[in-house]
C-alpha cells in the first residue's frame, strides 16, 4: 500500500512545530540558502565559468520540477525564458492566490511553515538575479498575510533578506501584496496587472510573456508557493537526487488536496505518480474511502476546472485499458485520460450527489469570476450558469443539455485571452458528455410537470392570437 512521502510538509503537522524562525532554524532551516550563497563558480571544460546562480538554475532544470500551480510547466524552462540581457530589473512573484476550487495546499505551507516558502523564494531570487520580489496572497487569507509579514521581518532581522545577505554581497527585498477576492488574479498576467494596481485583466500572449514583458514591462517570474518550496529542496539534495522522487517526467512530490465525500479529507503529499486516484480515495493512508453505504459517482481530479471522471470510466493508455481509479496520480497520465491534475485537487462525489446541481455550482463560480474582458467567456460563462440555474430550479428543458454543450464549445480554443475560457468550458463539456441522461431527464421532467400544471400549455399547444373570425 503506498503511503505519504513528506518533503514539503515534513514538519508542518509535527506537534510543537511553530511558524516562527527559531523553530525553522532548529529544523535545518536556511541551510539550503547558505549552501546556495556559498556556491563557487565552476570551471567548464571549454574554459568558461559557471556562476553559482547558473548552477542553481541548472539543478532546477535537472530536477525536472514542474509547476505546481496548475499548468504543470517545467520550472527550469520557465526560468530559462527570462530575458537576462535587457538591462531591466528582473522580478519574482510568488503566486499565493490559491483559489482553484478544491485546492487548499498552499494554505498549509503559508500557515504552518512560512519560512520554507521564503527560503525557497530567496534562493530562486538569487538564482535569477532578482532584487525585489512579492508574495501575492489572496485577500481572504488575512492570517496568512500577517504570518508572512512576521516571517519576512524575522528573516530580515537575521539578514536572510535585505542588504548584503549573509555577507555575500547579494541584496534582496520582499513584500506581501494582498489580493481582494478575485479568482482571475491567479492567472499570472492577471496577477501582474493586479499587482500594478489595475483591474486584473489578463494580458495577451504574445507579446506579454512575463519572462520578457511582465511586471512594469520587465522580465518577471511567477511561480506557485509549492513550486518555490521545492526549489529549496532541489538545492539541498541536488537536482538529480530530486528527480529520483516520483516517476519519469513527473518528478518530486505533490501535495494532493482531497475533499468532498471521503472519510478523511485533507492534504496528502505523495511522490508524483506513486499512488493512483483509487488509492488516494480509498486507502486508509489517504482518504479512507467513501461515507458508509455510499458508492462512487464522479471524481474531479485537478480542481474544479479539470474535466470530470465518471466512476467506472475506462481509458486506453499505452494500449492498455485502465480504469479511472487505477490512473497513477501524475501530470501525464491524467492528460492522456483527457483531464488534468491541475492544482492537484481531487473532489470526490458519491452517489447521493445531484450531478446537475454540482455543475450548476461550478458554473456559478465561473460566471462570477470571469473578468469580463473577452465576450465568449463573459457571456458564455453567464449563459451556462443561467441555463443550469433554470435546470436546477424546475424551469429546465430537455434540450438544455445540448444547449449547454453548444455554448461551452464556443468559448475555448483561442477565442479568449487567457485559459479561463477553457476552465469554464471544460466542466460543462465533460459533465454533460458523461452524465447526459441526468441532464436530459431533469429537463424533460420539468417540461412534463409544467405542461400538466398549465393544462396543455407547451410546445404542442395551439396558439390563439386574436378572437376567432366567426362569432
Amino acid at each position: 500500500m503506498p503511503s505519504e512521502y513528506r518533503l514539503i510538509l515534513k514538519y508542518a503537522d509535527e506537534p510543537g512545530y511553530t511558524p516562527d524562525i527559531e523553530c525553522y532554524l532548529r529544523h535545518g532551516g536556511y541551510d539550503a540558502l547558505k549552501k546556495a550563497l556559498a556556491l563557487q563558480p565552476k570551471d567548464l571544460p571549454d574554459g568558461a565559468k559557471r556562476s553559482g546562480p547558473e548552477q542553481i538554475r541548472q539543478e532546477v532544470m535537472a530536477s525536472g520540477l514542474r509547476g505546481r500551480g496548475g499548468a504543470g510547466f517545467s520550472c527550469g524552462l520557465k526560468w530559462s525564458f527570462v530575458d537576462r540581457k535587457s538591462g531591466k530589473p528582473i522580478y519574482l512573484i510568488c503566486n499565493a492566490d490559491e483559489s482553484e476550487p478544491g485546492t487548499f495546499k498552499d494554505r498549509q505551507i503559508i500557515h504552518k511553515d512560512p519560512h520554507q516558502l521564503i527560503e525557497g523564494m530567496i534562493i530562486s531570487c538569487f538564482a535569477n538575479d532578482v532584487h525585489l520580489a512579492y508574495i501575492y496572497i489572496r485577500g481572504e487569507m488575512p492570517d496568512g498575510a500577517r504570518l508572512l509579514n512576521r516571517a519576512l521581518q524575522e528573516a530580515r532581522a537575521k539578514n536572510f533578506l535585505g542588504k548584503d545577505i549573509l555577507g555575500n554581497g547579494y541584496d534582496l527585498e520582499m513584500h506581501v501584496h494582498r489580493g481582494a477576492g478575485a479568482y482571475i488574479c491567479g492567472e499570472e498576467t492577471g496577477l501582474i496587472e493586479s499587482l500594478e494596481g489595475k483591474r486584473p485583466y489578463p494580458r495577451i500572449k504574445p507579446p506579454y510573456f512575463p519572462a520578457v514583458l511582465g511586471l512594469w514591462m520587465c522580465p518577471t517570474i511567477v511561480n506557485n508557493v509549492e513550486t518555490l518550496c521545492n526549489v529549496k529542496h532541489i538545492v539541498a539534495m541536488g537536482g538529480t537526487e530530486f528527480a529520483k522522487l516520483g516517476t519519469p517526467n513527473n518528478t518530486g512530490t505533490r501535495i494532493v488536496s482531497l475533499s468532498g465525500h471521503v472519510k478523511k479529507p485533507g492534504c496528502y503529499e505523495i511522490e508524483v505518480g506513486r499512488a493512483t486516484i483509487g488509492q488516494l480515495i480509498f486507502d486508509a493512508n489517504f482518504g479512507g474511502g467513501l461515507r458508509d453505504g455510499r458508492k462512487l459517482k464522479a471524481v474531479i481530479p485537478g480542481g474544479s476546472s479539470a474535466k470530470v471522471f465518471k466512476a467506472g470510466e475506462k481509458f486506453k493508455i499505452k494500449d492498455k485499458e485502465v480504469d479511472m481509479l487505477d490512473l497513477p496520480y501524475d501530470f501525464d497520465s491524467l492528460i492522456q485520460a483527457g483531464s488534468m491534475s491541475g492544482s492537484s485537487a481531487i473532489i470526490v462525489m458519491d452517489d447521493s450527489t445531484d450531478i446537475v446541481g454540482a455543475l450548476a455550482n461550478i458554473a456559478e463560480f465561473y460566471a462570477h469570476e470571469s473578468c469580463g474582458q473577452c465576450t465568449p467567456c463573459r457571456e458564455g460563462s453567464l449563459w451556462m450558469s443561467k441555463a443550469l440555474h433554470r435546470l436546477t430550479h424546475g424551469e429546465g428543458r430537455a434540450q438544455d443539455a445540448d444547449y449547454l454543450v453548444k455554448i461551452a464549445d464556443n468559448i475555448p480554443g483561442g477565442r479568449t485571452i487567457c485559459a479561463f475560457g477553457e476552465a469554464c468550458a471544460w466542466p460543462v463539456q465533460s459533465f454533460v458528455a458523461k452524465f447526459k441522461d441526468e441532464f436530459v431527464d431533469k429537463g424533460a421532467a420539468d417540461e412534463e410537470r409544467r405542461a400538466k400544471k398549465s393544462k396543455g400549455a407547451g410546445p404542442g399547444m395551439e396558439m390563439k392570437l386574436a378572437a376567432s373570425q366567426q362569432h
Partner: protein, 161 residues
Amino acid sequence: MSFTVPANLEAEIDKLITHYPVKRAASLMVLHAIQEHFGWISQEAVEWTAKKLELQPINVYELVTFYPMLRQQPMGKYQIKVCRTLSCALGGAYELHKHFCEKLGLDAHAHGPQTTKDGKFTVEFVECLASCGTAPVMMVNDDFHEAVSHAKADEIVGRCK
C-alpha cells in the same frame, strides 16, 4: 462630510507606498488599509487615494467596483462570509447559509450581501475560501472557521457581541 485620514493610518499608507517602485501598485494595499479603518470605501476615500497615489479617481474607482472584497457601502459589524463553492456545497454550505439567514431574519434567496436592520450582521455567500478539506467553512470578519455545524454556527453568532 469631510473625509479625514488619521495620522497613524496615513503613516502606514506612506510606508506601504515605499514597497513599490511605482506608486499606483500600492492601490490595493492602500484600499485594504482604508477599508480596515473605515469599514468601507466611500467616494471621498476613492478621491483621497487617487490623490495620494497621483492617479485619476477612476483608476481607483474601477478597482473598488471590480474586487468583491472591497465595499462601496457600510457593512454590518460582523461580516459572515459562507463559502458557496463545490466542496463546501457538498458539505452543506447551502444549508449553513440558510441557517444564518433564518436565524438573523434575512432572505436566504436574496443575491449579494445582506445586513440586519440593527447593522450588526452582514451575511453573504463568497466563492472558494481554499479550505475544502474542512467543509463547510466560513469567515467572520478576519476570523476563519472550519467544519461549521449548525450548532457551531449558533455559538459563533452568540460570541458576536
